[in-house]
Symmetry: C2
Subunit: 380 residues, 2 copies
């Protein structure tokens, strides 16, 4: 397609996952980017790319850009190199959105070597492959968990990185590595890498088409997918609320900053847009000292509105009609009382604003769950 | 040899380097360990192992244990796996002393991706290979540079890790990774890994035989090898002293804690000895909380005696008879005023005491330099 030649090709690692697939869709819908998806299918299905392409055709017509998929694993750098090589003749890969990672906080303390291997060593291999292929625009999926237990709520980006889990440390380490690479080199030959870390708060919901959503293997580890699967009758376990004596919370339960998955996904597109601004124009790196900071920035992607666990249960009851029964039990080790973003920097610099509200998140999640009661596999 | 069957086999990564080769020699001389050396020969020569074996025979007789050498690179995990496999039938490898790393602070800010690849990703691969081969004793070569600019001199091990260079961050990250692995697992299946990080202060000198010493490729980056090469007429460049206005120093120049390389090397043997103590007996991990700390400890290896740059120049003049001319220039970015260890913990727990004094360091360095004016390569 001649139109594709004008699009910037973006490698999306982990592009089959919940966040990854919505990022792929947002890239397609932007009309500016052409996603090349890689994933090892550890916890995700190639069906997700098909659905992204289908939604893009539904919304943009038959000549909508279409994502391609390659099965590849960051632990096997030669498979990543092969993908870069494949697109070299066609103009190469302009940028990378790096989401591939192991992501379960609890599991990370049991399997730290695997987490460091995939999340840290895998990122280093990817950055090495990018340098070899002169690909210099990088968006990294970081997490609010890098802040540990923050002193200030809502949390500004200047809050120190003091992660309290192995998972959190893998994310913080990659941020430090990125910054070091961005500010490396000499005066004559500064590093060509530009990088943005986006620190996710709590993504929720699904694309409103009901074709794309969160499809965890096994019992969901996060609250909203668990509530959705309970309401649809797929998950039968009891609902436990860990602690209702947290100070500062309206009802004593933990407070999190939920944002719609499509808002979060669009934050990645905005980050790439910001990196694409010419160096001669005002851009997000204009104020960076090349030696001290490098062309590296980190932004919170959140709504700035904290929601307690009980608020979320009530919102999902409203969306699904399901009467949840829950038990209040003791606090869970490692839970931070409140993780609410200060989203002002991302709004000012990226133009990022999470517009979709809690009702929309729950409605879209429920729409996806009822249309895909058993997930992608069975409907593919 | 029947005697070898009673020795614990120790993989020494980077075992051809300055510190590595003296560690190999100390392991041989201990009569308790049998070193298996791996090295990629990036900055070192196989000749070093031959010399270790020769010194061991000189001191222990014809049936002295002998180290073996394998050329292998941590960036190619299959070469490491092959070494573990080779010794499997013969009882396997009991422990690892991990020294292989890129180590130039200045270069690390120019080539961060390489430093993270070798030092961090390489360590992760090694730890993965160890776990697969049920090898659970690990001594890691860390560095005083993990302390950054410490608030308290002499520096205790409880000083926070706040490294100020890429090199320092690679060392701190591996320490964090080690601790996370040591405290991982579940109550029923805790991690089998025991690890000790040894934080080096400034190693100096050589084995008194004059057969083993520091043999840097190119212009020496450290003060003492530079002084030795200047005195022997090999290095012609001018001597610059960076800053003489540091507060707290007797003459205003930077203060470092030099210790004899054989003392430092013996600290590794003592660390392995400490890890070999049965779990039922009092050992260095007895006070560790398995969940919070894991079986992980970190120790300073230093003398606890700070020496200024000008003191070192005077000491080398005394040893070599060479009249050094030097120029005082401005402070160098990144230099910390004083890095002097508090060595009390290593003495109390490992029985480590750096006995050899500054005169001995300079004498042994000068002995090596005069016997090997052009290094290993030309005399091999």
């Amino acid at each position: 397609m001649s139109r594709d030649a004008e699009l910037k090709r973006i490698l999306v690692t982990g592009g089959l996952g919940y966040i990854g697939s919505h990022v792929v869709l947002s890239l397609l819908l932007s009309g500016r980017y052409l996603p090349v998806v890689i994933d090892n299918c550890h916890n995700a299905f190639p069906e997700a790319v098909k659905r992204c392409n289908e939604i893009a055709r539904d919304e943009m017509g038959a000549d909508a850009p279409q994502a391609t998929f390659h099965r590849a694993d960051l632990r096997e750098p030669e498979t990543i190199e092969a993908v870069f090589a494949e697109y070299k003749a066609a103009g190469g890969i302009w940028g990378v959105v790096h989401l591939a990672a192991l992501k379960a906080v609890g599991e990370s303390s049991e399997l730290p070597t695997q987490y460091y291997k995939v999340n840290v060593a895998g990122s280093i291999s990817l950055l090495e492959a990018m340098a070899k292929n002169d690909c210099n625009n990088f968006v990294f999926s970081s997490s609010a968990t890098v802040y540990g237990t923050p002193a200030v709520i809502p949390i500004p980006e200047t809050s120190p990185l003091q992660p309290e889990s192995v998972y959190g440390r893998t994310k913080a380490m990659v941020e430090w590595i990125l910054q070091d690479i961005c500010r490396s080199g000499t005066d004559e030959r500064p590093s060509p890498l530009k990088a943005v870390s986006v620190r996710y708060f709590n993504p929720a919901g699904a694309h409103p088409s009901g074709k794309l959503g969160e499809e965890p293997r096994g019992k969901p580890g996060n609250l909203l997918p668990l509530l959705a699967q309970m309401a649809v009758g797929r998950e039968k376990s009891e609902l436990k609320v860990f602690g209702n004596d947290y100070p500062g919370s309206p009802d004593g339960t933990c407070v999190r900053d939920y944002l719609h998955i499509m808002d979060l996904a669009e934050g990645h597109v905005l980050s790439l847009d910001a990196m694409a601004v010419a160096e001669s124009e005002k851009n997000i790196f204009s104020k960076c000292d090349p030696k001290k900071d490098g062309f590296y920035r980190a932004f919170n992607l959140g709504r700035g509105a904290g929601q307690s666990v009980l608020t979320m249960i009530a919102a999902m009851r409203k969306a699904s009609g399901f009467e949840y029964k829950y038990e209040i039990v003791g606090r869970r080790t490692g839970d931070v009382p409140d993780l609410t973003a200060n989203p002002a920097l991302a709004e000012a610099e990226l133009g990022f604003l999470a517009k979709r509200d809690l009702e929309e998140m729950c409605r879209d999640l429920w729409n996806f769950q009822t249309k895909n009661p058993n997930g992608y596999e069975q409907t593919a």
